[in-house]
């Protein structure tokens, strides 16, 4: 029943998304709410989120397929498929964000290796190939010795690409909210946290119900997810508190927008309450954490929190003017420091999410991702 409802939800999201895709291709970026000041919006945030899930999913898959930790036995293929689907969603999001999406080949053939965008495009391409090979081997030739080799390589690449996302933002010396030396260290942790939450959701909501290992798997994953979430919150606390004490005006302005300004509701309600406190409350209690449904839904809430967290890294870094008086210097469309995604942007994101949901469900229906079972969610 849940799977059918999820199919329906994915189909509806995709239907809404088709209008967004049409709008994007017919009118370009004209109907986007981002502009020349807030240059990156919802799609870039979703790219960071999905890319983090993809890298994190691969990291979590190594627990089963590389390190062969007993409690995670049988979970690797399902989360690898989720990682592949997320990678597709990430690349679709960022591709649609380009001004000239037909020129993406130039990054491969006429690229600038010094650019982090270049490094990430190549990194994600290599990562995608590794994911495909790993998934193929894990499903059809699980005893092949190359599986472990490719997983080691994939683990290093996953760390690199998730760290590179942090560096992409961190190298912007002009934006103190992003210019954090530890960003490339933090982002792999964020990715791992996303991967753990994603596996929790996948196992809890779509995994076979009669697996005797499942309650223990969910409990261990719940504890790991909570620990990673707390580490993520600690990183955020460290960044925010130091910035506020440091009192660099542009940095403080960005943080104030998150805590008390235009994005307060997203931070306090979506990221902290729904994405952090509620999952922590339930997942530290074994009776909920061992329960498929509770664990799965809490995994989903954590993912919502992580998606919002990505947006709250991107948006406030751009909504504070580099020069104070820019806000009134010249007026015109797309020259604003206020940002809330437009309907077209939401539609495209809904379509991307819908595609990811449908892709994942088709995978678990037609690929042998879980050990054989008689009873599914």
């Amino acid at each position: 029943m849940l799977k059918k409802l999820t199919y329906l939800f994915g189909a509806l999201a995709l239907a809404f998304g088709l209008w967004g895709f049409y709008n994007r291709f017919a009118f370009g970026h004209e109907n986007a709410a981002y502009g020349s000041y807030v240059v990156w919006g919802l799609w870039v945030a979703m790219y960071l989120f999905f890319a983090g899930c993809a890298a994190g999913g691969f990291m979590v898959a190594t627990l089963d397929l590389l390190f062969q930790i007993k409690v995670f036995k049988g979970t690797g293929k399902a989360v690898l498929w989720a990682a592949l689907v997320c990678l597709g969603a990430a690349l679709l999001s960022i591709w649609l964000d380009l001004g000239h999406l037909e020129r993406v080949w130039k990054v491969y053939l006429e690229g600038n290796p010094r650019s982090l965008v270049f490094q990430m495009v190549w990194g994600y391409t290599i990562f995608g190939v590794i994911l495909l090979i790993t998934l193929y081997l894990a499903i059809y030739k699980p005893q092949h010795p190359f599986l472990k080799v490719i997983m080691w390589i994939g683990l290093v690449v996953a760390l690199f690409i998730s760290g590179a996302v942090g560096a992409l933002l961190g190298v912007n010396a002009a934006r103190p909210f992003w210019h954090i030396g530890l960003f490339p260290v933090q982002f792999p942790v964020f990715s791992l946290a996303s991967g753990a939450a994603m596996l929790l959701m996948v196992l809890g909501l779509f995994g076979p119900r009669d697996d005797p290992n499942r309650p223990q798997q969910l409990w261990v994953l719940s504890v790991a997810s909570v620990v990673l979430l707390v580490v993520k919150l600690y990183f955020m606390w460290a960044d925010y508190s130091q910035s506020l004490y440091g009192n660099v005006p542009m940095n403080v302005a960005s943080i104030n927008q998150v805590l008390y300004g235009r994005y307060w509701w997203a931070f306090w309600i979506l990221q902290i309450l729904i994405g952090s406190l509620i999952p922590i409350f339930f997942l530290v209690q074994p009776k909920f954490a061992r329960h498929n449904g509770w664990a799965g839904w809490m995994g989903l809430l954590m993912l919502v929190g992580y998606a919002v967290a990505r947006a709250l890294i991107i948006f406030p870094g751009l909504t504070v003017p580099e020069l104070d008086l820019l806000t009134t210097a010249f007026s015109g469309p797309h020259l604003s420091f206020d940002y809330f995604p437009s309907l077209m942007e939401w539609a495209v994101t809904a379509g991307t999410v819908g595609l990811a949901i449908l892709g994942y469900l088709l995978g678990i229906d037609y690929l042998p991702l879980f050990p054989k079972s008689t009873k599914e969610a």
């Binding site: 009118f27 370009g28 020349s36 240059v39 006429e110 020259l335």
Partner: protein, 289 residues
């Protein structure tokens, strides 16, 4: 000030010499009864700096491109905040809505009745150490041989990483907007949108020496755009549009490698500053305070 019966033609000639022709035409009649001999002209305005800079430009163009060092000097004491430079830039480059190369930042200082205004024109700083160029994944933006940061529209993929890297917000993205968007078309006895937008689309600009037709999905739509010191004009011996149009002669342009140039004199003054020097970007735009 003593009032005399100075003829308007004299006033116009005076203003034309020290200001732009358009401004002279507008303002001269209002000055008919003023004694213009009482006007004090600052030393750098005599002879007209425009003529001097044009001569210097011709001299610089005889050198090899890599031997020139184009710089812009903006004398904030002389800027009156008319925004003519912004508009001249928009007109010269036929910039669409939402794209701006040279806004003028306007700051109100003090409280009534002790209020004053400060104006800071902000072109691209043409940094010698630009943060925007290394982030480009396809080498679409770079410093050319004359040291001006340019954008290759046919190479740019529109990722906008350069915009996030610029500390001066000197880059804008062309979203494909037009001034005639949502205006009526096919009205009887009137030129409608499709007839009128030829101005916006055909031969829309001569940036980088190319005649660019503005069409959907074609560059420069979907590209990042920025001030380029009007290189297409400079190449032909003309000063950038913002310099020519500045009625207060606040914006100066020239080759800083020429020790006799006006800009060389100006950037040697003690009251010179550059924006956000602490970032190490080494801007080529200097402000006189």
């Amino acid at each position: 000030m003593n009032k005399t019966s100075a003829p308007s033609t004299e006033a116009a000639a005076m203003l034309e010499k020290y200001s732009s022709e358009v401004f002279a035409g507008i303002v001269a009649p209002a000055l008919e009864n003023l004694d213009l001999s009482a006007l004090q002209v600052s030393p750098e305005a005599s002879p007209d700096v425009i003529l001097r800079m044009q001569e210097e430009l011709k001299r610089a163009l005889k050198k090899k491109p890599e031997e020139r060092r184009w710089v812009m000097v903006i004398d904030l004491r002389r800027c009156i905040g008319c925004h003519a430079c912004t508009i001249a830039c928009v007109a010269e480059n036929k910039l669409p809505p939402g794209v701006v190369y040279r806004p003028v930042l306007t700051e109100e200082i003090g409280k009534y009745p002790n209020v004053s205004m400060r104006f800071i024109p902000r072109p691209c700083m043409q940094c010698d150490n630009p943060p925007c160029t290394p982030v480009c994944p396809v080498n679409a933006t770079f410093k050319n041989e004359e040291g001006v940061v340019v954008v290759d529209y046919d190479q740019c993929i529109g990722c906008r990483a350069c915009i996030t890297a610029c500390p001066y917000a000197a880059r804008t993205f062309d979203f494909g907007e037009t001034y005639l968007k949502n205006t009526p078309d096919n009205l009887p006895f009137l030129f409608g949108q499709s007839a009128a937008d030829g101005y916006e689309r055909n031969g829309a600009a001569f940036e980088y020496g190319e005649s660019i037709v503005r069409e959907k999905d074609r560059s420069p739509i979907g590209n990042v755009r920025k001030c380029h010191f009007c290189l297409h004009r400079v190449k032909e011996g003309m000063l950038p549009a913002c310099v020519t149009t500045c009625i207060g002669r606040a914006t100066l342009f020239g080759d800083a490698n020429d020790p006799d140039s006006l800009v060389s004199e100006m950037i040697a003054l003690p009251n010179v500053m550059r924006l956000k020097e602490d970032l190490g970007t080494e801007p080529r735009v200097y402000y006189i305070l």
